[in-house]
Amino acid sequence: MLRLKNVDVHYGKVHAVRRASLHVRPGEVVALIGGNGAGKTTLLTTISGLVRPSGGEVLFMDAPITRSAPERIVRAGLSHVPEGRHVFKPMSVEDNLLLGSYSRYSMQTRPRVQEDLEDVFALFPVLGERRSQAAGTLSGGEQQMLAIGRALMSRPAMLLLDEPSMGLAPQVVRDIFKLIVRLKAERGLTVLLVEQNARAALKIADRGYVLETGRIVLQGPADELLENRDVQRAYLGRDLDREE
């Protein structure tokens, strides 16, 4: 479904992503893990078109999107939930969700957009209760749900999720990860999940990639990565201490 071939990204002289190749098959949840500044966010923003790669190729459903504008990429069915959620804070919950459907909104699709809005409220009842409240007044967890709901409003085939658990209480984190599993099972949604919370991400993922200073240094089935000694030492140790 998604394939990156030898992608390089520069910010001026900073070489943030180095010859990264990865692929995600339809219906898969793939985890991308790595430490601070490894280049995870850069990789996702390159896929969604916010950042232009300096080399390599990005294919989505076999079509090149390497230098496409973000709005073309959403329309193609790839929706990005950015790091830090980036909800439109002064706008109402409902307006935020409606903006999620911007890429497919027209007179004809209006009734279906309304249905999808109710779907999102069914998925996240708390958003329904607060539909006319300003998004900035929601808690962190609710804002994360709003950001995910907003991305779903474009009816994506694939979701890019950047650190959805960041800064959230453990119970809320569990809810978010459960939701990802549910979206995969019920809607066949394909997900590329970036996480610092490597253990939780690998537990729900089919496969994983490990990014270190811009390079993909390891890849494989998620359960193998969970058992891998290097991965355990570098990314799971801290989680272990905290959880048990």
Partner: protein, 292 residues
């Protein structure tokens, strides 16, 4: 001081203030979409008046001349965004402001070269027979000004709160990156905001031109007053800008009537400075920290 003159000052103030309000609204729309303070906003108002005069002088019937003026100014707005703003989209806020000032000088210069430095008048839309009541007189044109201002305000309000395009424009100002991820073409929205602002400004200019007359350089003062209206109402708040404009117009009119017309323009700037010191978020501002 009798009731009739007080009422008269009020009518004059509200009429002129409506145009300040529309100018302020123009500032607000561009600021809300792009974060730019467009100091060429007054030139859009001037273009509305001058192009209306030019079209009418060329034999175009008045209603059509008014529409033509607004349409041409709208095009000028698009052109300005394309040629001045888009190529330097990543420039700092200060540089962008300087660029808009440069654009305003250019627009003024071109208009001066074509039409000269004379002052022009546009015919009143429906005659000059004043409506008299309670010892005051109101020109029919004042009703036109107030009516059209109200219509534009209500139209813009429902545009921004009810249409997907309007929401998309607002989204661009709150978070351009997230807006792009929604599929919004952020740079096209920037152009649209210049077009709408130009249209609103030009409409204000062409409906006021029969009362106050127009010339190539009326945009300077109108732009500053519109900016003051924005600050008065809280930058970024469209209704605040409109209300700020009317308050400003009324204060000016009373100041000119009760003190001396020599102080008319000074009043605006004293208020502007006071406000910037005392309450920079404006009379209707929600305090800072709302927009980040």
């Amino acid at each position: 001081m009798d009731l009739g003159s007080l009422l008269q000052y009020l009518i004059t103030g509200v009429t002129v203030g409506a145009t300040y309000g529309l100018t302020g609204l123009g500032f607000t729309i561009i600021f809300n979409t792009t974060g730019i303070i467009n100091f060429a906003q007054g030139e859009f108002v001037m273009l509305g008046g001058m192009l209306g005069v030019a079209a009418h002088a060329a034999g175009v019937p008045l209603p059509l001349a008014v529409l033509l003026a607004v349409a041409a100014a709208t095009l000028a707005g698009a052109l300005m965004e394309r040629t001045f703003i888009r190529p330097v989209a990543k420039a700092s806020a200060v540089n962008l402001i300087i660029i808009t000032i440069g654009a305003s000088i250019l627009i003024r210069g071109v208009v001066m070269l074509i039409f000269g430095k004379d002052t022009f008048a546009l015919p009143h839309f429906s005659g000059m027979e004043p409506i008299r009541f309670l010892g005051a007189a109101m020109l029919p044109q004042s009703l036109w000004v107030l009516g059209i201002t109200l219509l534009l305000l209500l139209g813009l309000k429902s545009f921004f709160s009810r249409t997907m395009w309007g929401r998309g424009m607002l989204a661009c100002s709150y978070d351009p990156k997230a807006a792009a991820l929604m599929g919004i073409n952020v740079s096209r929205m920037a152009m649209a905001s210049f077009m709408i602002s130009a249209a609103v400004g030009a409409a204000g200019g062409v409906i006021l031109a029969p009362i106050t007359l127009t010339a190539y350089d009326v945009g300077i003062l109108l732009g500053l007053k519109g900016f003051a209206a924005c600050i008065l109402g809280g930058l970024g708040n469209p209704f605040g800008a409109a209300a700020g404009g009317i308050i400003l117009g009324v204060l000016e009119s009373f100041g000119a009537g009760l003190l001396s017309s020599a102080y008319k323009d000074a009043i605006t700037f004293v208020i502007l400075l006071l406000l910037l010191f005392v309450r920079p978020t404006g009379l209707f501002g929600k305090g800072s920290g709302e927009r980040v």
